[in-house]
Symmetry: D2
Subunit: 332 residues, 4 copies
């Protein structure tokens, strides 16, 4: 098989935390699609994709096996309050499918990331907006009614600020709180700038080592924590390399047409072996700017809105007493 | 013994987290001074008091037995950078006396309180400015030299935000990190407005239940955590009741002079039994405004400066490689 | 006329920016009520008072002549989203009465105060949440429809941060923008702690020198700016002296009953001439703590919620195209 | 003349606010160097370049004629406090050369940009750290001594928040304050990611329309304001297009060597006319992501440090009484 520009794309598909993007890259690379099952369902203003990955598929797309649900709504970048409410409701509904039905013990929501690094602050911000009730169950049961479920929350900080592995802090707290399920919220890296501020991913796979916007994450999974771990993430950064690869493909395409079929970088790349393409991207670009991760100028606003949508969806999903039409109403 | 205005003062002396103020009130109430030993030492721009409280003294002043060190520097409210540096150095030195000499394991600094409630945000702000090194010892020992000690940090949040007892979070983390000593930083309540922004207290007693600016604190002591606990606090609020009691004493004093020896509320109070004085303050005022806690308009700035001074002092005390003249230099 | 405790109250009634409180104190002092007309109207969860002050009344209550509308809703301190919406709607309606009907030119909303001093940050925060449209009228008229009115906004900062009189900045901008009306939003001082977080005052008098939470305010009135000035304010601080005077009255009352008719400080105060009472409060207490202004520990949350309610009310009042049921929906 | 990859570079050189980068691109494009005079001087840890642009040079590099001083210090991204102090001192010294020697009236420092958009918040943050003294000259001359000069400051906000052209606000304030010189501080766009957090530009040209991180800036020049305008800026964003152009050049270079002299995109580009290259970048990429502007994940920290360095330099340059060794000491 000849190396292609698409393989170059594939090469950097590792640079995404979104299963949907990894799957897209795998399809584009011509790999067989066994092992990944994907259905898509539109809603007014957006789309939900559910990707089920088995062990074979996991190897192909480089993500752990499990279910990945991706909510896409390009209009989230606009000041469209109704769309935000709908997305929060869709999130609540999809989260309902992933949550274990028979969990006993409170739900522990963990907001990963760093308050002081805007594109990495999604997790702590969601914690800030979350309805937390466990202390009422413990200390003021008279305020608890049947529509309420026990929810607690933690924003453990990041290794550089605490000097403690995030996973260790969470394990310590899980040991004391004995939750029935952990929901970990985190900012993610995507391949495409279009996804920032417009996409939310849920999965029942927990958090893998090395994913997320921060550099070093310990695994937060049922294996490490002893309880099911749901991950909710939204991309807030892209690797500079993926911007370039995207752009080269678009340029090559345009040049191919402009030059009457002769493609410059495209034809040349076809003469390169895949490992030389790896050299191309990583020996040429990466030394130039390392694993440079960028975010749009608008990241403050995107993070602010996404954290409200996610917190609103979590509140409705976790508190049966809330009406879904009030998704964003009770945020602070 | 006749009830006096001073007993009225004493009555509300419970409304302070400062051992120095509690001791002052006990002295004013004429109680014997056995059980409390107190020495004072001036420095340029301020004063350090060391109060040693034994079991007998503890009953009198309502604070656990141990050593309480109070640093007072009224000039801290001014924009006096040199004084701030001196206070941070004094803090570092006094902290050196309290720290266990033979501790093995990292130092865990815990910042108690709520980021989003300014007068309660001292602890989390100190964590933000702290030099944290434990992860270097674990993951990058090549950057560690002999002048560095292993320090880690945690801002666990408050019950109302996490739904988890702060003490449980800390216990969970202590279990994983196995520190040699815990230093707990917290905002405190004082009796006198003069103390806000000007006073820092250190003690080797840990944190007692019910102290601090937040309502419900679990004990953080060697008993509950299994390692020595140093407490560092700075008052940021006063109870409204204590403002009134202070004012009444001053007014009574002035009226006594103005009226040629006849004191109004003073003489009247002398005719009241102590329990009636309790009624006076708690049945009259407290129902009116509960346990109203107030802070000066300038609290943002006071908290900001105190957190820098405390973090600077902690950094110099915990990192032998830092020169004490650089106390505030390496803050962010 | 004998001096009374009520006169002592009156003495410090200058320490309020609320016309309602000043009027209450005047009534209590037994002054005749000519010159002030006051009507009150309840709404679900609160009350609206409209006070019309003529020149004679202005002298009595120490506030400029004009109309003062006070919205009181004690439940604003709770997390009651519906009440907040109702208050914002009432604010919008009352503001509609005060706004000049025939103004041409945009509305300029000025947010007075200091971002970095929480109890003084109401004005800048309202500006942050305000729908601003003037630039659309100027640069993108295709986005303007009949339901939209031209609104612009400014948060000029405070003297200590800019070195420029706030009034000079506003005059300079008014000169360039030529608004039809100026709405000045500011944090206020109240006499009673109960008012903080629960009260909003509107008036058509503009802002007087010396009012507001910051120390020195220039007048912002039709005289100084050349256009009508509506003031919207919410108390966020009280003077410590007024806390004491309140408390003394309550204590005296309780003691009078307890002592069978003999009042301590009350009877003693009756023997003092009014100027001695002035001495009492200002020579005794003020030297002790100056013009100490305090705020409750909860000021961050109170300011945050009030700024949303006021911005929501302003948006609905100024943009006819917004439905009043969406008062809080379009805040950020 | 054959189109080259360098011309492609040149094509997007408009996407920089740095005269140094524009000049570099002009040199690379082989344009004659008349009209631009450039000297460079190293300091410990960095370099200062002074570029004098006459009317002819201005046409070539697309920047107004005048003097541009660029301070480069790659180490600014590290936690190197000494280097920050040195850069602030160099900034103070260079600013001294640009400031008019005979100005009467206060200095007005204007912080352009948006507090709530991190990469655009440099200006307002500098204002926050600035020593402001004009109000002392006006209201408290007893505190003014010979080492102090009158400085005032304004952070006018951005069009989207105020609905008022920034230039109109500043003109209004200049009219009232009558400054001798205006210093405008703003975040800039650079061509290269390497410059973010490491570069500061000073010029005596004022601010041109369309420059800066925000989209639409009015000119702030001696022509529009009537007083000399010094501009101080630091790049905080780059256009995504320039990342791609940089990367393509690096890839082409590597491929040329790997392919033994045959360059793919390079050779192909040589066959394209310059206007086709323009088509390449703007018709292919720009429709894809518009004028996408990105910033590194670390922008919060970079902006925070740069604002301190610039404020420190301004303070020393404007207040002769401050010792240059205290550059960063008196920041808050």
């Amino acid at each position: 098989m000849k190396p292609t520009v698409e393989m170059l794309r594939q090469y950097v598909s590792v640079h995404t935390d979104l299963a949907l993007e990894a799957h897209d890259a795998a399809i584009r690379a011509g790999w067989d699609k066994q092992g990944v099952e994907r259905v898509s369902e539109p809603f007014h203003g957006g789309n939900v994709s559910r990707v089920h990955v088995n062990v074979q598929g996991a190897r192909q797309i480089g993500k752990p096996p499990g279910t990945y649900i991706t909510i896409e709504a390009p209009g989230l970048r606009e000041h469209d309050v109704e769309l935000r409410e709908r997305v929060a409701q869709v999130l609540a509904q999809e989260l309902g499918y992933l949550l274990p039905q028979t969990a006993s013990g409170p739900t522990l929501v963990v907001g990963l990331g760093n308050w002081h690094v805007t594109p990495d602050s999604l997790g702590p911000r969601v914690i800030d907006e979350l309805l937390v009730t466990r202390h009422l169950f413990e200390h003021a049961p008279q305020f608890v009614d049947g529509g309420m479920r026990s929810v607690c929350a933690l924003a453990p900080g990041v290794l550089g600020i605490t000097g403690i592995e995030t996973g260790d802090i969470i394990q310590g707290v899980v040991h004391k709180v004995c939750p029935g399920v952990v929901i970990a919220v985190d900012a993610l890296a995507a391949r495409s700038m279009d996804r920032l501020g417009t996409t939310i991913q849920l999965s029942n796979t927990g958090i893998s080592p090395g994913s997320g916007v921060g550099n070093k994450r310990q695994a937060l999974t049922e294996e490490t924590l002893g309880v099911p771990v749901i991950a909710i993430g939204a991309p807030s950064v892209v690797y500079a390399n993926t911007i370039v690869v995207d752009a080269i493909q678009k340029l090559t395409e345009a040049l191919r047409q402009a030059a009457g079929g002769h493609s410059g970088i495209g034809s040349m790349l076809r003469e390169l072996a895949p490992e030389e393409q790896g050299q191309l991207v990583h020996e040429v670009l990466s030394p130039f700017w390392g694993n440079l991760v960028v975010t749009p100028k608008e990241t403050d606003e995107q993070i602010r809105q996404l954290s409200k949508v996610i917190a609103g969806g979590l509140n409705v999903a976790l508190q049966p007493g809330l009406e879904s039409s009030d998704t964003l109403k009770y945020l602070q």
